[in-house]
Structures are given as C-alpha cells and as structure tokens.
C-alpha cells in the first residue's frame, strides 16, 4: 500500500516539477509580457496542483489534506485575479504608446 502511495507521489511531483520547468522556459524564451504571463500562470498553477496532488498520499490526516487542497485553491484564485490585473495594465501600456 505504501509502495502505491509512493509511486503516486513520485509521478505527480515529477509532473509538477516538469510544469515548473515549462513555466520557467516560457518566462525565459517568450518575447512579450502577455505570453510570459501565460507561461507563468498556466505552468505554475498546474505545477503547484500536481505537487499538492503528489503530497496528498503523504498527508498525515484528513485535515492536513484539506489544508493542502485549500492552499491550492487560494493560489488559483489569486493567480487568476492577479494575472487579469497585470494583463490589463500591460495592454493599456501598449495602446498608450
């Protein structure tokens, strides 16, 4: 049973790490603000989600698991809002030029 849990953890955390890698590559390679924002938010939210998913089998209790999931939901909410705001600022900055 613990082997199965460890396999889930390793698979999910590796996938999460891959998305962090993808996000960073996007940040380094994409040319302008909007595409970089896209890379950052997509990759990071999915990356964190997979890391949380991977850590769920290792969580000690139901309460810890719920905390993990709620952290992810909070970050999703924040990411969605903040990237909207940044994108609007970036677009207005462009049209004003």
């Amino acid at each position: 049973m613990s082997l199965a849990r460890d396999i889930i953890t390793i698979a999910a955390v590796s996938a999460g790490a891959f998305f962090f890698l993808a996000g960073t590559v996007g940040l380094l390679r994409f040319p302008d603000t909007l595409t970089r924002l896209h890379a950052l938010t997509k990759a990071d939210n999915l990356g964190l989600g997979l890391v949380v998913l991977g850590l769920l089998p290792q969580a000690g209790s139901l309460r810890d698991g719920l905390k993990l999931v709620s952290i992810w939901l909070l970050v999703l909410l924040a990411g969605a809002t903040v990237s909207q705001l940044i994108a609007r600022t970036a677009r207005q900055g462009e049209t004003a030029k």
Binding site: L74, L77, A78, T81, Q84, L85
Partner: protein, 313 residues
Amino acid sequence: MNIATIFEIVLAAVVLGLGIWTIAVRETYSATVGFVAYGLLVALIWVRLDAVDVALTEAAIGGGLGGVLLLGAAARLRDGERTVAETPGMVTRVSAVALSALTTAALAGAIVFLPDPAPTLAPTVVGHAWATSLANPVTNVLMAFRAMDTMLEKVVLLLSIIGVWSLAPDNAWGGHPGPRHRADPDGILVFLARLLPPIGIVVGIYIFWTGANHPGGAFQGGAILASMWVLAIMAGLTDTPPVARRWLRFVLVAGPGLFLLVGLGGLWFGTAFLAYPPALAKPLILGIEVAMILTIAATLGLLLAGAPERSVK
C-alpha cells in the same frame, strides 16, 4: 556530501544571489522586488532550521507586509530618483568593502569555530511548560517566561505609529492616512477584495489559535488580518479611518494596556510583575493574546497606510 547538503547549498546560493541583486541593482523598484523575494525565501531557510514560528513571522513580515511597505515607498519616490547623484568615492567604496569583508569573516569564524552543541535554554523551557499548560515552547517564552520583552515590543509598535502620525502636515492633522482608492465596483479587484478577506480572516484566526500548541501566534495572525484590511482599503471598499477617532486609539492601546494590567495584577496578588498564577495562566495568556491580535492588526495596517494625508471633511 549527500543530497540534503546539496539542497541547502542551492537554497543558500539563491538567497545570497537575491541579496546581491538587492544591493547591486541600479533601480530602486527592482531592488525592492528582489528584497521581497529574498524575504519569502528566507522563510524556507527558517523551516529548514526547524524554527517554524520564525518562518511564519518572516513570511508575514519579510515577504508580505514589509515588501508592500517598501514597494509603496519605491513607487512614490520614483520621481526623486534622478535627484540622487552623489555616489561615494573610491576610497569610501574600498574601505566599505574591507569593513564588510572583515565583518563577514569574523561572523563566519564564529559560526565555524564556536562549540557545537551550543549552550541552550531549551531543556529549561520545556521543563517549565507545565506552568502555562501551553505546548508551544516559543509561545511560552514570548508570553510567559520573557513576557516583559513582548510587552515592550508592543510599546515599540505603539511608539512607531505615534512617530508616523506626528509626521502629518498641519492641514491633514488627525485625518485619513494614505490616498483614497477608488475602483470599478464590478471590477475584478473588488471581486477579490470581497471574496478573499473572509477566507483570510479565518486563516488569521486559525494561525493565532493554533499558536498555543503549534507554531503560530498573535503576531502572525495579526499580520494576516492586517493584510486583509489593507486589501479592502486598496480595492476602495473602505477608507482608512481618521487617526483622531477615539475607538481606533482605544484598539491601538488595548493590547499593551491589558498586558500591563495583568502584569500589575501579578505584582499585586502574586510575587512579581507579570507573574501569572499557574491555575489562571492559560486563560490570562489567551485573553492578552486576543486583545493583542486586534491591536497588532490595527497597528500593522496603519503602519502600512502611513502618515495622515487628507483632512476629515
């Protein structure tokens, strides 16, 4: 060299890289962003050092509130950046390098050569935990064994808010701190400022409540509450209160005031200033902390808002 050590070296290198960036970069705004990143990552080091209480404080202050404070100042001072021209000469620079290198070498020497294990008070603290029936040793030190420090720390917070307020121009004396923010009532910022504070307040109270037995406490919880208040202010949902309001001043002194009263009570009924009778220790500490979390949240929020700028209309 095992993988844990490699990880620690990577973490230290990233943190130091951010420190160098903060000092060396030309633009003040970038330096501020670098310092916020530094503050958040230092929290990781604290977790690694098994000092989660400090990690919480560092995440709340170093990364959150302190960063916002510095950032606001950087944004408002941006026009003044050009006026600063006088960079120090070569001699100053070289002697500064020498002095800093010497300090670093001395501290590094202390780290390498001091005895390991270091002298410690941990067994004493753990041994006396029965006196308060709280399981978190750091809370015990803060609220009971060295309660005097914590009380004076709250007085320092109060003094600094008095200092900030006394910088108000004459026409704004006793008025609202900071600019009045307005936002689109259907906009996304207002949406978040309506959605997040209830969650944030629950998290803040949770961090405060869990502080009795696990890492957490009034200060960390208060910092979260303060950030939710400032978020509502930034979204224009509410305004900063005029600093002359009586209820506001009452909230600001409630924490240290109650602390002082309990301390004097210890002197009157018991043996020493701030001596709690063991049977009442836990309720007394909790009472002080409840008063303190409100005071801390109000003080931190007002410190972020700054000096009064608009008079009461």
